[in-house]
């Protein structure tokens, strides 16, 4: 039962991450985030070369990742074991990418975007959630 709730919590966290990533994607696509505004950070981070991977906005990749995490966590909460197995490596990969992105913001771009930091916080919470879920008994 406890494990089920942890996966349900992970699904909810993924929804928050998805909302954040969708907002950032829309900002990127419409060009809003690329323009400099009075709020520091986001324009620097989102107009940097690291914001796009192979022509695709990183925020869009993030949205796809969060949607996948949501799917797998939900299925895991409903007892699909394969989903739980797939969820762990995906969340670990996202955790590592988040660490890399924080490093880039702190030491390469020298600017922080609050939406990117929120996404990183969600990923860290997901990481903890999934690791704990793997350790606890299913019932």
């Amino acid at each position: 039962m406890k494990r089920t709730w942890l996966y349900a919590a992970a699904a909810l966290l993924a929804l928050l991450g998805l909302a954040d990533a969708i907002y950032l994607t829309v900002e990127h696509v419409t060009g809003q985030s690329v323009r400099c505004t009075i709020v520091a950070g986001c324009s620097e981070v989102l107009s940097s070369s690291y914001a796009v991977v192979a022509g695709i906005p990183l925020a869009m990749v993030g949205a796809a990742a969060y949607f996948s995490v949501f799917d797998l966590a939900l299925l895991a909460a409903f007892g699909y074991r394969v989903a739980a197995t797939l969820l762990t490596p995906l969340v670990i990969a996202m955790f590592l990418v988040s660490l890399w992105l924080i490093y880039l913001q702190a030491f390469v771009i020298h600017a922080f975007c609050q939406f990117c930091l929120f996404s990183a916080a969600i990923t860290f919470a997901l990481f903890v959630c999934v690791l704990v879920a793997r350790r606890v008994k299913s019932v």
Partner: protein, 268 residues
């Protein structure tokens, strides 16, 4: 008979239904979330540009942000407006590249520390080369303080150079070497190096940097920007109409400028 059937039916179908629901429910939720996610992305894509000063890609026509403009946002052929008629006047005289009578009057609100402004600089230079005397480019200071720590110093350096008739030389250097100075702790010696490079009287430059004239010019340009509802940089107006941010790429900006020139030609 009725009693027998009611006693037998529930155990037969209820567990099946529950099992079926348990299997199907997550997929229904997933589909619902996917629909909501795509729907909200579509809604945001449409609403964000129309709620701000930037026009969405669905409307590749410049629109006016000034309250003085009579043309509606949805108009496909907005009437050109001279910038002098709209908003606060800004610093006088403005920094203009090209003849003041040019049929296409472009006004940029820029911040020397803003990376997109730095990327826009070569595009504007290309437009200047292509259109020559048919295009006049006005630069307005819009340093985003405190977002950009050196923006005000850079604007001051450009204005101080302007007082010695070398605004555009300093403007070009600041944009071209943006990546070099924006990470510096103290930009003053860097800008003094640029001042020396373009042949400014260094003593006068230092005095002007800290002087009232430079500060007033920056403030007046900022006032003009605010009166035109400028929220970020670069913001570009063409004959008084704001050019959508996503249309600041050379190939689209060229079309807009050419259209203004053609329109002026027909009116003659």
């Amino acid at each position: 008979m009725v009693a027998i059937s009611s006693a037998h039916w529930p155990p037969l179908w209820q567990p099946r239904f529950e099992t079926l629901m348990k299997r199907i429910l997550p997929f229904i939720i997933i589909l619902a979330v996917l629909a909501i996610a795509l729907g909200s992305a579509w809604y945001l894509t449409r609403s964000i540009p129309s709620s701000n000063t930037v026009v969405g890609s669905q409307q590749p026509v410049p629109r006016s942000t000034s309250s003085a403009s009579p043309s509606s946002p949805g108009s496909q052929t907005p009437a050109p407006q001279t910038v002098a008629n709209a908003g606060d006047p800004g610093a006088e005289p403005p920094h203009v590249l090209g003849p003041p009578t040019a049929p296409a009057q472009l006004e940029e609100f820029g911040d020397f520390e803003c990376p997109p402004c730095g990327m826009f600089h070569p595009i504007l230079e290309q437009m200047h080369q292509e259109f020559g005397d048919r295009l006049a480019i006005t630069f307005r200071e819009f340093p985003l303080v405190p977002a950009h720590q050196h923006a005000l110093a850079a604007a001051s350096a450009a204005e101080a150079a302007g007082l010695q008739g070398k605004f555009w030389e300093m403007h070009d250097l600041l944009y071209e070497r943006q990546k070099t100075w924006k990470t510096e702790f103290d930009v003053r010696p860097v800008f003094e190096g640029y001042a020396r490079e373009i042949g400014l009287d260094l003593e006068r430059y230092r005095r002007d940097m800290a002087g009232e004239v430079v500060a007033q010019r920056i403030m007046q340009d900022g006032k003009r920007g605010h009166s035109l509802d400028v929220k970020g940089t670069p913001t570009v107006f063409l004959n008084g109409l704001e050019v959508p941010f996503e249309s600041l790429a050379a190939e689209r900006l060229r079309v807009f400028i050419q259209r203004e020139i053609d329109r002026a030609g027909k009116q003659k």
